[in-house]
């Protein structure tokens, strides 16, 4: 109950018990810094610190999945530093996932992304969470998919930067697809 009162969601005056709340302007999660910390981050943060600052992890709800079912997985990226961190990515695609190294479980070239870098920004202390589902299918052409066979598969995800693995900006997990 206390949390509800503190949240100011309930009007205290008796007249308006169930009026809708005014849509409050979004309060920022952190105080607005008066300094342009992004620029600072780029200049002052040594690369090794920037790399260590953000951790990536991939997880699935369980390790084994029956053949032909959907495998959900979660990708979490967290910035441990008290300053914003920005990464220059190889293209506007900021992060990717792959199955056994094949990006987005696609075995063919669909489209080239634009030939320009992107910027992936993390606020201080920010945690980004993404959910994806792999339906145990590999895309083999623009319009064809083939099912995966039973066996072990590695689900990986990370930032779209060079040497993501060495820089700790990539993670993997393994799942087993069983023919039960």
């Amino acid at each position: 109950m206390r949390r509800i009162y503190e949240s100011e969601a309930l009007h205290r005056d008796d007249e308006e018990q169930f009026t809708p709340n005014q849509r409050r302007s979004e309060t920022p999660f952190q105080a607005m810094p008066s300094v342009n910390t992004t620029a600072l981050s780029r200049r002052l943060l040594p690369n090794w610190l920037r790399n260590r600052a953000v951790s990536v992890s991939v997880s699935t709800p369980r390790e084994e999945f029956p053949l032909g079912t959907t495998i959900p997985f979660r990708v979490t990226m967290a910035n441990a530093l008290p300053v914003p961190v920005t990464f220059r990515t190889r293209s506007p695609i900021l992060w990717t996932w792959d199955i056994d190294g094949e990006t987005k479980a696609t075995r063919t070239q669909i489209r080239e992304p634009p030939d320009e870098p992107g910027e992936f920004r993390f606020e201080r202390g920010e945690r980004k969470r993404f959910k994806r589902r792999w339906k145990q299918l590999f895309r083999v052409s623009a319009s064809e998919w083939t099912p995966a066979e039973p066996g072990e598969y590695t689900i990986g995800a990370g930032l779209n930067v060079d040497n993501a693995v060495q820089r700790g900006l990539y993670d993997q997990t393994t799942v087993r697809v069983s023919d039960a």
Partner: protein, 444 residues
Amino acid sequence: MSDTSDPILRIEGLKKYYDTSSGFVDSLLGRGQTVKAVDDVALKLHEGETLGVVGESGCGKTTLGRSILRLIEPTDGNVYYRGEELTDVSSTRLRRLKTDLQYIFQDPFASLDPRMTVGDIIGEPLDVHGIATGEERIDRIGELLETVGLSANYTRRYPHEFSGGQRQRIGIARALAVDPEIIVCDEPVSALDVSVQAQILNLLDDLQEEFGLSYIFIAHDLSVVEHISDRVAVMYLGEIAEVGPTEAVFSPPHHPYTEALLSAIPEPDPLWEGDRITLSGTVPSPIDPPSGCRFHTRCPRIIQPDEFDLTQTEWRSIVDLKLHASDAKSVKSLTTTEEGSVDIDLSAVSNDQLDRLVRAEFSLPGELSDPEAETILSAAIDRLHAGEIAAATDRLGAFVSPCERHSPEQYRSDDTHRIACLLYEQGFDSSGDSAGGTDAVVEN
């Protein structure tokens, strides 16, 4: 749904006026203007039924919905819930009654606090009214989510994670949390895609059946209202134009405004060739509503007084001219704009030419079919030619419709169908009776 049983909700003489004066001095000096958003509305809601309230923007239907539940305080009138007068009750009692009377808003996003989880949002009324705590509360929240077709696992999510349709379901779950009797739904599906709309309408239908709910369903989309409502009230400029069983109101339509609304709906059928009724003019301001029947300024079936013998189209056009002339600031504004006519100096134009331009603007023929009316019209145009707008308006004042003078009562076609239109003053004309068939007998 017996007609003879007492209604669960009874609204009488409900008014909501807004004062537009911007301060103490303004109101002291009477400089403010009154917006009559809801002006003397009477409605009944029976247990287990859905009463639709339909009308275009500015008709006051949302204000009506809010006034019923005292979300905004009515200026006058009474609302009775099971015989108890809501408008008079203490705030403590009103809060308790709110477990029986709930509200669903149009914008599911605006009405859900983005910082509360879904579980908190639905649990809030349970807490406020002390309905359930602890384990029981958690169970009830889960149940409510499943009742509206969402997973009980969603309790820890936040509103922004959901689609419009899902948020509306959350809004409905919140309204159901207190086990209400009546839910006022204010445009609950207007912001949703067609296929999602259909899902929500079916859900509301199912819930009504399962929990014996009564709805007041406010919307501007006639097709939606017609689908879900047992009875319908059509609103125009703060008043009820017509109310009755849905089928009686819509097929065939009686009140000219209802008729125009129906004919305006774009029919999802490319080969449909209906006659579309066009309404002249624009919706008047609720600050200064027209005299008599408020719809008279646009009604295609405005009544002609006995002394004239014009066609209905001519009559409507003549009244249009009269109304425009009384407001006109220049003779120019009463004439049609033609190629090269933008610069015309109207004082240099011949009477004949002006006559042609005025008649063209109002779709009047070169000569009216009633000679007496034609004389009056020509005289008025003469005055316009002399630049005397007031004098012209004076002449045109001879064209007065009873619709401008008399405010129509809610004429009863029978106990359940009321039409506020002078055309129905003596009851149904015979063709309406036999064609409809539904209004003569009311099934209980």
